[in-house]
Symmetry: C4
Subunit: 203 residues, 4 copies
Amino acid sequence: MTSARLETFADGVFAIAATLLVLTVEVPDLGDNSLAHELAKLWPSYVAYAVSFVTIGIIWVNHHTVLQQLRGADRTFLFINVFFLMCIAFIPFPTRLLATYVRTGDGRAAAVAYGLTLTVTAIFFNLMWRYAIGGGGRLLRRDADPVEVDGITRSYRPGVPMYAGATIVGVFQAEVAAVLFGVIALVYVLSSSVFGREESALP
Amino acid sequence: MTSARLETFADGVFAIAATLLVLTVEVPDLGDNSLAHELAKLWPSYVAYAVSFVTIGIIWVNHHTVLQQLRGADRTFLFINVFFLMCIAFIPFPTRLLATYVRTGDGRAAAVAYGLTLTVTAIFFNLMWRYAIGGGGRLLRRDADPVEVDGITRSYRPGVPMYAGATIVGVFQAEVAAVLFGVIALVYVLSSSVFGREESALP
Amino acid sequence: MTSARLETFADGVFAIAATLLVLTVEVPDLGDNSLAHELAKLWPSYVAYAVSFVTIGIIWVNHHTVLQQLRGADRTFLFINVFFLMCIAFIPFPTRLLATYVRTGDGRAAAVAYGLTLTVTAIFFNLMWRYAIGGGGRLLRRDADPVEVDGITRSYRPGVPMYAGATIVGVFQAEVAAVLFGVIALVYVLSSSVFGREESALP
Amino acid sequence: MTSARLETFADGVFAIAATLLVLTVEVPDLGDNSLAHELAKLWPSYVAYAVSFVTIGIIWVNHHTVLQQLRGADRTFLFINVFFLMCIAFIPFPTRLLATYVRTGDGRAAAVAYGLTLTVTAIFFNLMWRYAIGGGGRLLRRDADPVEVDGITRSYRPGVPMYAGATIVGVFQAEVAAVLFGVIALVYVLSSSVFGREESALP
């Protein structure tokens, strides 16, 4: 199977998981409050929507960076991808949890659920890359640049410890952890688009 | 990354956001009324569905017009697109708000929410185009026709003020604003398909 | 814009609308009944799901037959497609209506809603084809076979009257209309796959 | 129609059905319990989500194996695919049933519903392959390797009896059947990725 085939399926899951996030934000029932008041109260939902959407967007960009280095996919690689995409498609659930409970006494459980999902996602992402470049570069394009491959490997290293760290923070402080999830996404976008090399500029 | 890659993801988000709009229209519970009566009462939902679907369709057509002028995408462009698509995927929420509340005392908050979403969408759309043609045409195809590029730039100029204007109207008059959202979409479809040049007629 | 571009978006809408149909079938709450009993009672939902899924599948096949004859798309054609896809994406709503109400006193309103949706879909489908072949074949491939084009035109002629007819039946008899919707789909599948020419067999 | 066309639609349905599975897992309402407690109680939903996601992933991999052997698709093949995809898109419903009811007195009805869906899916999958290779290889690529075609035919043989068997177990024991559905998926992933030939490694 070519990696092009995998991309169609993966891009579908990325796009759908990201778009389903909108179901996080529910049309409020009004009691005695005005709609304006209720919409203002929903702000954790908007933030959760935005953070998860951008996070999925970042992972989508990285997933393509990986596939660009490969010359094909074997079945083991496909199934690692299925497990990885299973995590991506799950993200709308902890996003809703976090939006609903972050400011309540149950916020820490929601933050841990969110953090665990992203930690496991990052683990599968690294597993996918390690498998592809392992065994003497078993799936790497024959003309892959070793310096670039090393750079990619290094750039993926912080993902798991960062999300694991934020998850541990969530055990004690839900709102701090929630801010960290947002900061991680923001730092990534800024560092990779403003300061980063733009090696993928040309087709 | 080629712009082809971005198109797959973007087309996914466009198609899913548009199709999820159908969840705006909910199967009514019947009290003492007949289903025919309840279905007739749902007309704001049908109109909201149609206006948002056509609006997303218009933005989809414009997004392709942009990508056709580009020779590739860098990371900054990708992330502007992620933020832009985050707005597109959000549209089903204010659509449901508007359908539910337009004819109530809370209609103005719903109209403002709808208008703000489209205004921010238009801002990101313009940002995307400005970034692509800025820096001496940093992402433009080398054979891009300057006259056509200028024409595109001019054609995108009214989007933000029009939606911002309709949003301000919504602060005072929900139903007038709702009509404006529909009129903007209708005018665009008519002007671009009946009176417009059809420059994209051939592959 | 090439017709390939349109296909990505259209196939997305077709696939999502068809897959969202599963939300027609809701997990039942059990009162005093067993789940087996409740699942058996849901049979109209299963039938509605199947009929709508196959109907969308048929329209998808026909949409490709159309695009195969075209050399490109202009903006008018694109916007006719947007309106056409707006109807396709709407189908899950009347499907849920029909599944919920077909066997109640309100079944006729549900059948009419379902029939109207498919009638309008068929009208836009014909409009799309008429526009493409009108004006001296304005969008037709230059090597399109006139005999085949005529055959396609003829094969699309019965769609609108058939669905309009079934809708009128629905004004009087919900269940008879529902059976007709299924029979139309079944006859199409049988006639086109078992008895029909298989002209699209080769790439 | 080329098989590439079919792949776009099929990949859409696969990706959407898999991603919609996340709606299986609902944000719990808290009564007197903590969120942590409620999330722990949801474990059947997580397992059901994972088993169904991986199962759909496996069928997706197999579907591509089939299409790789074909030189095109005729209308009969397309409609068999429509029926097959109708089963795939249905999977989220019995998944929710199983997650909700597996540990209750109604678990057996849920397990049977789940098993029947996968059995019928497997039947349509085999029908699709049999039709493609029947009639002297009516849709096979002219250079298809007969040994590989035979290997594929053999590898699809156990699907129907395995799922039918697990369904029959479900008539008596819901939880045992649920474990079997997971084991079938796991065995397939392990056998095909760890022990299996990796014939699709190169594009």
